[in-house]
Symmetry: C2
Subunit: 253 residues, 2 copies
Amino acid sequence: MLTRLELAKDWVRDAGNFLKENISSPLEITEKTRYDDLVTNFDKEVQEQLVSNILHHFPEDKILAEEDDEKIKFDPEIPHLWILDPIDGTTNFIVQKDNFAIMLAYYEFGVGKFGLILDVMKDKLYWCDSHKAFCNQKELESKKMSLDKSLLGVNSYMYRTNSGGLLDLSHQTLGVRIIGSAGISYGQLLEGKILGYFSNLQPWDYAAGSIIAEKIGFVTLTTSGEKPRFNCREQVFTAPAYLVSEIQKYIKS
Amino acid sequence: MLTRLELAKDWVRDAGNFLKENISSPLEITEKTRYDDLVTNFDKEVQEQLVSNILHHFPEDKILAEEDDEKIKFDPEIPHLWILDPIDGTTNFIVQKDNFAIMLAYYEFGVGKFGLILDVMKDKLYWCDSHKAFCNQKELESKKMSLDKSLLGVNSYMYRTNSGGLLDLSHQTLGVRIIGSAGISYGQLLEGKILGYFSNLQPWDYAAGSIIAEKIGFVTLTTSGEKPRFNCREQVFTAPAYLVSEIQKYIKS
């Protein structure tokens, strides 16, 4: 019998193929909280496909999904919990038709078991089992990098307003990159293209990335140095464990 | 006999293959003007290869190349002038081993005849002849986009300090992206992934991109609204001609 991880890889790949096949279709675009917070019919369609796959195989599992109006609460007493972002980087999906991701994470009693991030247009599936992290079939490795020879992935608002000290931290590095998708930024982080990722995120934005990145030595914390709470938007960063104390000289809430 | 354009495409592709073959080699990295302005032995090697190719075929041609200590001046009296950036996005080349470009532009009596931008790791050659622009063999098209449904490619310093009014302009859009390479940003612009590109650039950073983009309706101006002078670093932007007057409500020097 296929495991949840094996099934989830197939489901996410299928959803990615669905998006690629329909990438030129007209979109129905709706504003959510503000003019630059958008959702399309495809966010909803991909979410429905993935939720339906999960519940077909595991009808007792719970799902925390971005596009649900009524969301379930993250709770360490839930035996089987999925966290889903059907299209991360919806603005990129709409404007660029590139640089967006499907993200799915799986927890047992509050402990992250595996995560999947599909960079749809580049056909890159980042994922992990209980020990190792991969991009497609290639095992990912932790690299030792120093701050002053590295780049950071950042949220534009936090960067320009020095929120959480992010601008100060950026001055210790070779610069910042802004991609517009947590999933694509986590992909860059996992491949060593950025050293850390700093943004103002919801649980579905960091769930999969934080589980995968942990396998190669990264930790995910809020700018106050706490574990993220998985129940609201928070300033969160993922960075190598060996650099956290150096980073926290600059990053504070 | 092959034309300069046909030859240049081969030379740039060859240089790109050389970089890809050597992407894992140890680098000799030198600081130029400051700690985050870097050059490698490969910038110099690629420049030498391209200069040698040009002068072998066209010994009378002149070349303005980024890594020359003594640079020739852009002058509309020069019959055959090449402008060369052997590796644009050197920091990305060093840190990411991705998101860097080779750029070559050709001018006759001060008029841009063609440009080439090779996104080395994605095997995308952006180029133009005297009429049309292409990505590899695919003809590029101008798209009508409005500011409020678009993204901008920006320089991090200009964005966060509102230099030239760039932060003000960004608030009229869906947001900004920071890539760290003019060449890769021009590629995104040519493919419609960003509407405009705004940065503090040297001639070799905008020469090829401005020539190619002109074929699909873009113009390149300084933040003061002048044509760039091709003899120093200037705040320059490339944007659709039909949007320049709207952009200039915000962009001023």
